[in-house]
Each structure stands twice: as C-alpha cells, then as structure tokens.
Amino acid sequence: MYDISSLYQATSVADAIRALQADPKAILIAGGTDVLIKIREGRLPGCSLVSIHELGEELRGIALAPNGDVEIGPLSTFRDVTFSPIIRQHIPVLGEATDMAGGPQLRAVGTIGGNVCNGVTSADSASTLMALDAVLVVRGPAGERRVPISQWYKGVHQVNLAHDELLVKLLIPRENYDGFTGHYIKYAQRSAMDIATLGVSCLVKLSEDKRLVRQVKLAFGVANPVPMRSPAAEAAVAGLPLEEAIAQIGKAALQDVNPRTSWRASREFRLQLVEELSGRALREAARKGGAAV
C-alpha cells in the first residue's frame, strides 16, 4: 500500500487545475514513475495526489501542426514518442533519446511531460529538448503561457511551473528541427535500466556539400545541476570544416559545463566524457545528415 492520504482523479485539465488550487499541498501525478518511487522511499509521507493519468484524450498524442511545428502532448509516454511516425520522420533523435530511458515496461508508462517537469538533469529527453529549443506550454487558472525550455529549469527538481499549473503541450517549432540531424549519447554503466552518467545531444545543420558545419546545437544532461546548452561549443564550431569541428567541439564545451562528483562518477570523469562524447555525437549527427565522416 502506498502512503497516500488522498487521491483525486481529475476529469479534465481544468478540473486538475481546480483540484490543485483547492489543495496547496497536492502533488500532480501523471505516469507515476517518479512520484510513486518517492512515495515508496518514504519521501512524501501522507501526500495527497491529483492524478492526470486518465486524461489521455486531452494530453496524449503527437501531431504535426499545419505550420510544421511538432506538438507533443505531455502524457505521451516514452514509447509513444519513440514509435510516433511524426517523430520518426521529422525528429528521430528525440525518439532515439526516449528509447533509452529505463526498460520497455517503464517506457510504456513514463511520460515525456513527467520527464521534464520532474526537473532532473539526467532526464533522457531533456538534453534533446534543450537542443531543439522546445517551447513548453503551461496552463493555469489565469490561462496559458509559453516557456522556452531555456527558461524552464530553475534548479534541481525546480522548474518554471506554479503549483496550480500544468504542462499541457511540448512544442518543437519547425525551424528548430528542419534541416538538422541529431544524435543522443547516453553514457551509463549498463545498457538498460540505468540513469545517465552523462547525456549529450547534438544537432547539426551541414552545408550543401556536407563538408562544413553551418550550425550546431549541443546540449548536456548531468554536466550541470540542470540540463544545459553549450554556447561556447556552438560558437566555436560554426562554419568549420566537419573534421575540425569534431576535433574542437569537446574542448570548447568544457568552458561551459560544471559537473559534480557523485557516487556514479567523479567530476573529472564527467569532464572527460563531455570532451570525448561531444565529438562522437557530432560525428554521428553529421553522418545521419549525409556526411562521409
């Protein structure tokens, strides 16, 4: 039995917002794969929950807007994202990233909304969403607001979301994925059921002849207390021949990152991973874009 004092099953997004307003201590639960673990560990004794698990009709699903933006409902599971034909066609790197979380049963339940709202740096979808400059659409009693993901993470387990607000959509504007190819590397001790020691997501746009880097977007998980981009690396390699960019990107990224030592790995090891894996991620991203590297 979970140590829960009450569980309210919301019937709509509006109903969930009302329930959160009515109870300042209530905790929102979606797939539950973070919240239920915390309860099991005794970290939320006697909590009251507001469940949006059954709001699939309003909040689950992936669509391509007429203007080409990709819209992801926050209740879409990791599995939904990975197997979505729209994601496979337009943003395969995001589906590859969500396919690395946990194991199959976890991916059938854990949601992409929960992954970004939980606010942890190791979240497998987070670095790719950072690289894509995703826009998070949030709804509360006063209506909707749009938060660029660059302004989302406030600290460990802290995101730009008020108590009575819900994430209702993740938006990937067309210009942020169109013409880019990407690659995500999750470095972990095991190839399944493990949390990233470091995550790197790299998007690249190449010149016509596939020899030059036009633009790179490089993002990390676990290189900082929250997911982050590396502006230094992105600036350092723009316009460079591909092999030069691959050789330099990792060193440049070291200017931005600030990893910690944890039981999983030391700061020094994570720095080495940043340097090494950035180049590898860029190489793979460029290969997917048709470069012969």
Binding site: M1, Y2, D3, I4, L7, Q9, G32, T33, L36, I37, R40, E41, S51, H53, E54, G102, G103, P104, Q105, L106, A108, V109, S191, A192, M193
Partner: protein, 163 residues
Amino acid sequence: MMEILRCTVNNKPVEVGIDPRESLADTLRQRLGLTSVKKGCEVGECGACTVLVDGVAIDSCIYLSVWAQGKTILTVEGLRDENGELTPLQKAFVEEAAVQCGFCTPGIIMSAVEIVGSGKLYTREELRKLISGHLCRCTGYENILNAVERAVQEAHKFVGKEE
C-alpha cells in the same frame, strides 16, 4: 475508503473493492489471488510484477489500481491454448530450460506475450533489449532468450508480419 474497480482480468469481467492506495500488483495478488504476479523490488526495476494492461507490458507494482478502471488485464493465469494446455510460449520456456527458481518467469512470460503477439521477427539484439526490463538472478538470460526467440519464430510462421 474503498472503491469499486471494474475491469477485465484474464478474459473475465471482474468487480472488486479496492483501496485507492494500492498498486495493481497488490490487487491482483491479494484480492484476486493471482500470485503469478511477483513482487521483487516494488520500484519498477526488476520486472517480476509485469502484467499486460490493454495489451501492453507494464510493471504492476508502480501502477495504481484505480488506473485500471475499465481496462483489460492479463496475467500468466490467463494463458492457455485451445486445449487448456500451456501455450507454445510457455512450452518453449520449459523445453529451453529457461526456468530455474521461477521467480522472474511470470513477468518475463508476460513481456514475451506482447513480443510474440506482435507477429514480427526480431534479432537476438532486439530481443535482448525487449526483455531488458527484467532481472533474473539464476539463468544468465541465455536460455530465456532462446525460449523467446523460438516462440517468436513459431508465431511468425502463423501470423508473420514484416517490418
């Protein structure tokens, strides 16, 4: 506080009083006596509690029973062939000696039901990934993979799908 859960369990309609704080694993084991559903870790790590909800393998220890309202649940107790015997998948587990202590077996079987039911063929590597949400402390996984591979191939002969 009790609630009524109405759902389909192992092909039968079920109505059962549940406590909204309980996991689906608890409901299945304690209220419905379906003890093939094992509790290993209770935090989604080991896969021993895997059941199918609407055809999809999930860890029932981190799934609240109230979410199962109106859904269709399958556990190992609901598996049998037309003659009431073991299914070809279960037979493959027996014949490939994929079972030692058996604690992980019902969970893996349920993941395999979904895999085999897709009617697709998979490489050994793909199968490894598809059962990576299960821990087995006994077998070393090789015989389990042999069994799943065999069942996948047998099923493919009947309902083969290409992808």
